[in-house]
């Protein structure tokens, strides 16, 4: 088991405060795909209304980790997880917990924008509610508010009836973020949300992450260290399925304590 949280704890009271304000936390979380272990006993807090970035080379378990947080990991055939994930102090893996409810509280944005191609922009925003069997009363106001939050309203307000797939890649990704926000989640997980976008669209998403942190607890998986440094308050470095180091972003990027972290952020491997 890794000891980075312990090490953090050893540094003093600041960390106690950190753990007390955790919105979610993983406790000795391990995950498998069939026989292959993808995560090795991860213990990590996700602080409320802060941005936590997960960095690390490809295949280090970043995506698997956040997919365990909203129970999307188990959707893949042969995938399983042990350990626990707490949301507001309660296990999301409890026997009486419906994964559907967890996913409504812990939203997710995927690596590739995946708006529903058969639905209009408006219907995409409302899809989460409708797919949950909820018919919102004032849809126009909700659509405007949520698209506004996703910094997309001005660009699409005249195109609400066009298919979601007709937008540009960056707009599609912000549409997916809006679709996620429409459910009023408490936590938003983003799995490399900019990896298929150009630099301008990336800048817009990063700005958006900045704006959203006042209202949501955000976890961003990224393999861009620059992005992690720009957007995150806390950063966790994963390597080969293990959590190598977790700390305030500025600490990770200026004086990391583990040599592997230093090697990675200085570009010596990865």
């Amino acid at each position: 088991m890794n000891d980075s949280v312990d090490r953090l704890r050893a540094r003093g009271a600041r960390v106690e405060a950190v753990e007390a304000s955790a919105k979610m936390s993983a406790a000795e979380l391990s995950a498998w795909f069939g026989d292959k272990q993808a995560l090795r006993s991860i213990t990590l807090p996700l602080i409320e209304r802060k941005v936590t970035a997960i960095i690390g080379p490809s295949g280090c378990g970043k995506s698997t980790f956040i997919r365990c947080l909203n129970r999307m990991h188990e959707v893949v055939a042969g995938a399983r997880a042990t350990g626990d994930v707490l949301l507001d102090g309660k296990s999301v893996y409890g026997a009486d917990v419906d994964p559907v409810r967890v996913r409504r509280r812990v939203g997710m944005v995927f690596q590739k924008p995946n708006p529903f191609p058969t639905m209009s922009v408006r219907d995409n925003v409302l899809a989460g509610l409708r797919l949950s069997g909820i018919d919102p009363p004032d849809t126009d106001a909700l659509v405007e508010e949520v698209l506004g939050q996703a910094a997309l309203w001005d660009e699409v307000k005249d195109a609400l009836d066009r298919p979601g797939g007709a937008l540009s890649g960056g707009q599609q990704q912000r549409l997916c973020i809006a679709r996620c926000l429409a459910l009023e989640p408490e936590v938003v997980l983003m799995d490399e949300p900019c990896s298929s976008l150009d630099p301008i669209a990336t800048a817009k998403i990063e700005e958006l992450i900045h704006d959203l942190r006042d209202r949501y607890t955000i976890v961003v998986v990224t393999h861009s260290m620059q992005q992690a440094a720009r957007v995150s308050d806390y950063t966790a470095f994963f390597y080969l399925g293990e959590l190598v180091e977790y700390d305030h972003a500025d600490v990770i990027f200026t004086k990391p304590s583990d040599p592997r972290t230093e090697d990675y952020i200085t570009g010596r491997f990865g």
């Binding site: 909203n70 999307m72 959707v75 055939a77 559907v100 409810r101 996913r103 409504r104 939203g107 997710m108 995927f110 590739k112 995946n114 708006p115 529903f116 191609p117 058969t118 899809a127 989460g128 409708r130 797919l131 949950s132 069997g133 997916c176 679709r179 996620c180 459910l183």
Partner: protein, 281 residues
Amino acid sequence: MTPELESAYRGRKLAARVAPAASGAAVVLALLPLFAVFAYVASHGARALSLTFFTEPVGVRGAGMANAIFGTIELVVLASAMGIPLGIAAGLYLAEYASTPLARAVRFSADVLAGVPSILVGVVVYAVVVVRMKQFSALAGAAALAVVMLPLVTRTTDELARAVPDSLREAALALGAPRWRTALFVVLRTAAPGIRSGCLLAVARVSGETAPLLFTAYNNRFFNESLLDPTSTLQVQIFTYTMTPNDDWHAQAWAAALVLVTLVIVLNVLARRLVAEEESG
């Protein structure tokens, strides 16, 4: 350019001319039977077509085939109402729960069923429905056609639903949608255009089926009064008239064939038009 290269180029240019010509000839050859059939049927059938053909039933003087035309449409509509919803539901189950033993068994039996000669379907429906109800009926005929449609619709839905990218399923699940809503409102809706045309092709296919009807819907010289009566259809009427030595009836059979072929072609064109519209729109 060296002489070797030049001769190589000449060879390629020749091949580039011969190959399209050869495949063009193959296309013509393949289409020949289709046009031959249609031209032959049209030339023979058009002569016997008249207004009464469409307005009068078989069993009256100067008869037409109004009851058979109605019967064919009636049976196809009934069969579609039974076969399409069941087939789509089964296909969606196959696609969404592909790895369960039940799904594997269903997929295998759908493939086998698709290969069963349709006359056998007629025999089974005769034994199961007609014998029990003690009469031939439109219902039995429609049931037989529905069984013929079922594997077509099931496998089309299965294939098209599995072609829906997993990223859309994950998007819906991550929004907190239950599995069944994801299947119905995301997977089915995304695959809908293809499924729709697949269903139309299945409808076109059973519109011409004769064998399953011979001992299920049987035949009727008049309009059937209820779904429990035997029913005439164009295809069985063609079969019946062709088996007689009567020239008049032969001519009527040709006319019926023309109407039936036209019906099937219209359905096919409609299916393709639908797909094209969905793709461009």
